[in-house]
């Protein structure tokens, strides 16, 4: 880890900023590759705060290159995790405000000036998240098994192709269709109610909460449907309480409730 002196990066390089910290320990970043192999992570002081930075090849961080990168799941994952690892290492040693992926400057002077201009926002975010962590809460309902193909009560036999329909076939069809619709509405309502119950309960022990996008069914996997993807800013001393609440809600609702954390409070520094 290097302390950055004044100076301008060469023309073919750019400065990548991961996070803004209050007095980071340089030893915390040893061995982390960052987003550019072979380049050490550095600290860039601006006022009383410090940014965690890395010199990268500008050609690797053009918009064009990033658009291609974002179309490649493996590449995107590599960069997202590299960024996240540096942010997490910073937060493990000192109060940290994460920056989103790919914040880049033409050099240290440019970066320092831009960061200085935002000092008030960084301070507000640091104060807001001090002593708090982010916890993700996901709720899933189990999918119902496929309906029984031989329904009860017994209904008119489906007619063989070409024969006359048995009496009552149309009525049975309508009733079946109504039943499907009613079941669907009931499950939709149950899912919304479950999501609200869980959201209210976790909200009560959090300083803030927000809903994230629901994950795609491919990501959730077969057998379950995600009905809530939320994240909460929780005081560190209530972390254990959060786990107890998750267990209680699992028992009372029967739903699958996944808790992830503690996260660096990415989701709660953006509004300042």
């Amino acid at each position: 880890m290097t302390e950055r002196g004044p100076g301008q990066a060469p023309d073919d390089s750019a400065l990548y900023v991961f996070a803004v910290c209050d007095a980071p320990d340089p030893a915390a970043f040893g061995g982390l590759p960052g987003v550019a192999a072979g380049q050490p992570l550095g600290r860039l002081r601006f006022g009383a705060l410090t940014a965690i930075v890395q010199t990268v090849r500008a050609a690797d961080f053009t918009d064009e290159v990033w658009q291609a990168r974002m179309a490649d799941r493996d590449e995107l994952e590599r960069y997202a995790r590299a960024h996240h690892d540096v942010v997490s290492a910073a937060a493990a040693c000192c109060p940290t405000v994460p920056l989103p992926l790919a914040t880049l400057y033409h050099g240290e002077d440019r970066a320092r000036q831009a960061l200085l201009d935002e000092t008030e926002r960084f301070r507000t975010a640091l104060e807001r998240t001090a002593g708090h962590s982010e916890w993700g809460v996901k709720v899933y309902t189990a999918d119902l098994p496929a309906p029984d193909p031989s329904p009860s009560p017994p209904r008119a036999e489906a007619p063989a192709a070409g024969s006359r329909p048995a009496p009552g076939a149309g009525l049975a069809y309508l009733e079946r269709k109504r039943g499907v619709q009613a079941r669907r509405e009931r499950r939709h309502e149950d899912a919304l109610r479950l999501a609200e119950t869980v959201e209210t309960a976790f909200g009560a022990l959090s300083a803030a909460g927000r809903r994230l996008r629901l994950h795609a069914p491919e990501l959730v996997g077969k057998g379950h449907t995600q009905v809530l993807n939320a994240t909460y800013l929780v005081p560190d001393h209530r972390g254990a309480e959060l786990q107890v609440l998750a267990r209680t809600l699992r028992n009372t609702t029967g739903a699958r409730i996944d808790v992830s954390g503690p996260w660096v409070p990415y989701s709660f520094v953006g509004e300042v």
Binding site: C94, P95, V97
Partner: protein
């Protein structure tokens, strides 16, 4: 040092070790403090990323409009095959009804 009192004594170990890509992306992509960089990189189009990588469902409404059977998870209810079989049954019943009606008309013509 700084004049901030940030309660420096305890830091949790951040970032669950086995977090999946979506968990990380939904945090590093458009969260954090956004400050203007020198190099303009358009990262924020999560909708586009969703279409490309199928990581997220933008919202329940969008999912429904996009034809994702979000709540209708019964395979027998949600699959195209099941819908087609209902349509097929409906069509057969209509044909039979027409056939019956034309027969009735023939009978009353006599």
């Amino acid at each position: 040092m700084t004049d901030l009192d940030l309660g420096r004594e305890a830091y949790p170990i951040p970032g669950p070790p086995n977090s999946n890509l979506a968990d990380i992306l939904e945090r590093v992509l458009d969260k954090g403090i956004v400050i203007a960089g020198d190099i303009k990189i358009d990262l924020l189009d999560i909708e586009l990323l969703t279409i490309r990588l199928r990581l997220f469902v933008a919202s329940v409404d969008t999912a429904k409009k996009a034809g994702i059977d979000w709540w209708e998870t019964d395979p027998a209810l949600s699959s195209r095959a099941a819908r087609n079989s209902l349509l097929e049954e409906n069509r057969e019943l209509r044909e039979r009804l027409e056939a019956l009606e034309s027969k009735t008309e023939e009978t009353s013509d006599h």
